[in-house]
Amino acid sequence: MSLQLKNVSFYYESGGERKQALRNLSLEIGSNELIGLVGQTGSGKSTLLQLLNGLERPWEGRVLLDGRDVAAKDFSRKELCGRVGLVFQYPEHQLFGATVVEDVQFGPRNLGWEPLEVELSAFQALKDVGIGEDLLDVSPLALSGGQKRRVALAGVLAMKPEYLILDEPMAGLDPAGRREVFQMLLKLHRERNMSILFVSHSMEDVAEYAERVIVMHQGKVVLDGAARQIFRFEKELEQIGLRVPQTARFMHRLRDDGFPLKEECITPQEAVECILRQRGKSVR
């Protein structure tokens, strides 16, 4: 079970000019992973996501789902967008239904499911994102920003994807909203074994939630590994316009100063425990 990119290149053409957005990129997403994708603006993250979901076709290379080429004739687009759910940046801008439920049902209905199945999965998805029953028959335009975001997420979740791909799902949310959305994603990941890939510009969020981190630069994957490992490369990340989480930076400075730290700590919680342990104190 995996979603794979093999030697993929992609170009954008505009006004007769051709611009390379992805360069011979290979990548594998297994089942039940939780991945953070980071990279400078313009490094090709959004392009990569659109390829994974079949919205764009690679110019060179292949996209494989469970080893099958998604460009093959016997692979329908519906199957792909049902199995790989893509949530765009500011997904609330795509809401159109007269009521919240109706909007969420759009996706599963497009997949050609039975009406009963459509309804059930819509209700389940709305429950998963924490939209109460009192809001089901409200116009989505009458909701608050955070609620809209969650309804839009439910619209993709209702299609029951195995892989959930999100482009900056936290953009424009307040700290409480960010935490809520992340908790929800974590829950889906743990309880439904959903494989999740999210793009984020916040290294703190990535350190806090992602198990694996993929770093992109100029259309290539330059680093790929466990979050803890990736954030050791402070210099390398800085060279490509990124930084490590504040905590990791703080711990690196401490270590450079001779403070004996063995482990790599990337979240404040870990750092506190680590320092306390070092000083012989018990961790409360």
Partner: protein
């Protein structure tokens, strides 16, 4: 997808024509277009083509670029040419089965096609050398005197420039929403006309919502900066005629005089 549409197809180079006051170009194009309807002689066309060639050369716009404007009207042109060629009475010149081609038909076809081509080329040369903003500025000044009759000239020009400004933004928005809905399994390509129209709803509704949201934001932002219409408002770059503009008006008059003279002297 829709990204490829270009509106206000400005060709960005620096040339004598580009630097002219937009009023000169608007009025000049109008005069040129009217002049094309005042004769049917080939001598006249020779003058009109020559004048166009001269302006084109001065504008530094490549001919192939200017000729792109002809593409959309090609079918219309072919159709009128065809009708004129076969359905004009007169002395028969040759026959293809039941269809007869007359000398008059041939003549009519050529001059009407030429007229159409020059009309399109002339107007596209104006949009190629003038930015949409300059055009609205020019129009606002030309129609300025109508303010006396309480025609909201300034407001109309403002609306036009805002509309032009929003076109590329809305095209991008359309692309984005289209992709988002496609990712949810929407299908914009198959089905009959009615189905397709219904399938457009998930695209159109968010697009309208976003357009209205943007419009409200803009209105608020303008209000917050005390915009209150045209009264007492000055421009950062007011349009002012310079020497070149008067020379251009002179050339225009010269063109019309020469055209009339040539048409009068040569009777073909």
């Amino acid at each position: 997808m829709i990204r490829d549409i270009t509106i206000g197809q400005y060709y960005s180079v620096d040339s004598t024509i580009h630097r002219l006051d937009p009023r000169v170009k608007i009025l000049g194009t109008l005069a040129y277009m009217i002049s094309l309807f005042t004769f049917r002689d080939f001598a006249g066309y020779a003058v009109a083509v020559l004048f166009f060639a001269l302006v084109l050369a001065l504008s530094k716009v490549p001919f192939s670029y200017a000729a792109r404007g002809l593409k959309p009207i090609f079918i219309l042109m072919a159709f009128t040419a065809f009708l004129n060629l076969f359905w004009t009475d007169g002395t028969v010149f040759f026959r293809v089965g039941a269809l007869a081609v007359t000398w008059e038909g041939l003549y009519k076809m050529i001059y009407i096609s030429l007229r159409l081509i020059l009309l399109v080329l002339g107007s596209s040369l104006m949009t190629l050398t003038t930015t949409p903003n300059q055009l609205t500025d020019g129009l606002e000044r030309i129609f300025g005197p109508l303010k006396v009759f309480r025609v909201p000239v300034h407001e109309m020009a403002m609306m036009m420039s805002i509309a032009l400004r929003f076109i590329p933004i809305l095209i991008e928005e359309t692309n984005r929403i289209m992709k988002a809905q496609t990712a949810r399994g929407a299908d914009f390509e198959s089905g009959n006309l009615l189905q397709r129209l219904r399938n457009m709803l998930p695209l159109l509704i968010p697009l309208f919502v976003s357009a209205i949201r943007r419009a409200t934001d803009l209105a608020l932002a303008m209000d917050a900066r005390c915009y209150h219409g045209g009264a007492g408002r000055t421009k950062m770059y007011p349009l002012r005629y310079r020497v070149n503009d008067f020379v251009a008006y002179g050339c225009l008059v010269a063109y019309i005089v020469i055209l009339r003279a040539v048409v009068w002297v040569c009777p073909w």
